[in-house]
Amino acid sequence: MTKLLITEITRMGPAFCAIGLQRENAKIQSIRPVSPRANGWLEFPHLRGDILECNLAPFSGSKPHIEDRVATQGFKKSSQLSESETVAFLRKAESAQSMNQLFGCAIHENKNGSGLYTLPHEATRSICGCETQNLRLEMCGNELRATLALPSGEVLRDLPVVDRDWHDFTDAALAPQRGANVAARLERFLNSQFQYKTLSCPHHYVRLGITRPYHDLCWLMLDTLFPLPKPDWLEEF
């Protein structure tokens, strides 16, 4: 039986992906439980900070998704940690100060338009945490995108945000029942209060991931942004 602290719940299309931290002796490492049938979950009724008990079996997932493990039975919640406690553990797991440290390889930019990617055979892992010097979220053609500055001063631009809670938050912010000009109001929030709320938060932390190889490239994405959005923020704009 493995105890897993859930740190990431991401949403891509209809599927969810979860990542957690596992302690192995003195080491804290990221583990991605996958269902026996697919890489994602169609339902994942748990929250960040939940500690779940589960049975995990090794999985011969392709590099660089070395964190994959098959969950051979359901998850059972045993306890829960707060956001700040969760981030304290994340800071002890995989982390990076610069671009090349993120996935142990060079990061390339899309020559045609936007986006950053790694080559599957070069990357040595698929998930990593980092502090940020600055962070900005924006809506681009209905898609949520993040731009962030690493401690090294390097800037990662236009990363797709796949964090489930931030997606739910922007969906709620754009709901028609919230009245007129919701897109402009959300944009104003993201350009003002958002930065203050996230960057001034003592447990502000970001986790980045890479997609599974797609046309032989693994695209960078923002998996998790702490602090998670609060429902009452919607009342502020």
């Binding site: 045609n112 681009c140 053609g141 631009r157 797709p160």
Partner: protein
């Protein structure tokens, strides 16, 4: 094609052409163009990554930086994009509403490149000698970087003397006297003294006291920054004649023992100068400045950093491989955007006046672009990397070649970059006056 006026992309047909071209680049040349109302994501024509990538390319090509934001809660279709571009145009302030601004009919719409010159340090050193001075294996610069010789400033030469010489020649080539200058815009990545380079040139050339002197930064991107500044001064009606000077003397700073030869050995000394004039209609035998794009790719910021240390030395952080990769990728991307924005296919470009970190990378860039290497003047091969003057020397060489081949003057593409990674690009189109051939 007439030279492009310096106005935002506002023509409906031009906007549509740009959107379609950007789509083809994202979806593939063979992908069928969707109908205007087709939702590109719902129909699977593009996935969400490709959709945003496509939008970013359109933003850049049209100069509408908030296109993505304007499309929130709209279908992912051509119709939405064209509508949002139209709205962006409608919300631009009318010239008449700006205080003190001239109306469009009063303002000159074109900046013409009337004259140019370039000089290099008069001490030409074979690259093998440079290898020896920096303690590197003999032949390393030639075999690894493709550099045959490096131009070094001789005793008595510096940024001021090289820059002034280039400016005198540029003035002489156009029959323009120094007193006609309204502004001197200077850029250098090695001159950090005060009075600044622009003010020293101002004094050296004895221009009018009321001629402005302005220094712009950007290191190797400096020339493009200066061209954009000069263009703004000219089309706003603030100036009629502007001189641009680049001057870089690396050999006094990047010395053996202070920096590694793999870095310092690449650089030479040189200068370039350009004379720009305002024109109301672009009808001229000269080249007309098109539009510029600029940006900063911060993901490459760590590839090169140069700073003074507290002991008076120079702290250089230089990841050659990462920088090479970044330079090629970014310049290729900039030139592709220029191609889209200008509507000028790269195959019909007469010359590429780009930064040349080293000759090997120029060769690689030409290959990546699918154009002949001969369209890149061999500046770095014979003189080394001249900093901001590399692009200047390349532009002068391209203009000179165009003058010699007066039967078919073709457009010129510009691209450069500097630490940061700041980047920029633009184009020059032949004027439509007597003696010039319009670009097709």
């Amino acid at each position: 094609m007439a030279p492009s006026p310096v106005l935002p992309v506002h023509d409906l047909a031009r906007r549509r052409r740009i959107v379609e071209e950007c789509f083809r680049r994202e979806a593939g040349a063979g992908a069928p163009l969707p109908g205007d109302a087709v939702d590109l994501i719902e129909t699977g024509a593009l996935d969400s990554m490709a959709w945003v990538s496509f939008l970013r390319t359109v933003e850049s090509a049209c100069g509408v930086s908030d296109l993505g934001a304007r499309l929130t809660q709209r279908p992912s279709s051509f119709a939405s994009i064209l509508e949002a571009l139209q709205e962006a145009r409608a919300t631009e302030p009318a010239p008449q509403s700006l205080p003190f601004a001239r109306t469009q009919t009063e303002s000159p719409a074109y900046a013409l490149l009337a004259g140019s010159a370039s000089v290099v340090g008069s001490h030409l050193m074979p690259s093998e000698e440079v290898d020896r001075l920096f303690g590197m294996p003999i032949g390393k610069l030639r075999s690894r970087a493709g550099i045959e010789s490096i131009a070094y400033a001789a005793n008595g030469e510096n940024e001021l003397t090289l820059g002034a010489t280039a400016l005198w020649e540029a003035l002489r080539s156009t029959g323009c006297g120094p007193q006609e200058l309204d502004w001197i815009v200077a850029t250098s990545e090695t001159h950090h003294d005060y009075p600044s380079l622009a003010s020293q040139l101002h004094s050296r050339l004895l221009v009018r006291e009321s001629c402005g002197a302005l220094d712009v930064g950007g290191a190797c991107l400096g020339l493009l920054n200066a061209l954009a500044v000069a263009q703004a001064l000219l089309v706003s009606g603030q100036a009629r004649t502007v001189a641009i000077v680049t001057a870089d003397v690396h050999s006094r700073t990047l010395t053996p023992g202070r920096v590694a030869g793999e870095f310092g050995g690449l650089f030479g000394d040189g200068a370039s100068a350009f004379l720009l004039r305002a024109s109301a209609n672009g009808a001229s035998a000269e080249y007309c400045l098109g539009e510029f794009i600029f940006g900063c790719a911060g993901q490459y910021a760590a590839a090169i950093r140069v700073s003074d240390d507290k002991d008076g030395g120079l702290a250089v952080q230089f990841d050659g491989e990462a920088l090479s990769r970044a330079a090629i990728t970014r310049m290729e991307k900039v030139l592709a955007q220029i191609e889209i924005r200008s509507g000028i296919p790269r195959s019909s470009v007469g010359g590429f006046a780009t930064h040349q970190p080293n000759p090997r990378l120029v060769k690689l860039l030409a290959k990546q672009l699918g154009v002949s290497q001969s369209t890149f003047p061999p500046i770095a091969r014979t003189s080394g990397n001249l900093g901001s003057s590399t692009c200047g020397s390349a532009l002068h060489a391209t203009l000179r070649a165009a003058t010699l081949d007066s039967q078919e003057r073709k457009p010129i593409f510009l691209a450069s970059l500097g630490p940061g990674l700041v980047f920029g690009g633009g184009w020059l189109a032949p004027g439509s006056g007597e003696g010039s051939v319009q670009a097709s």
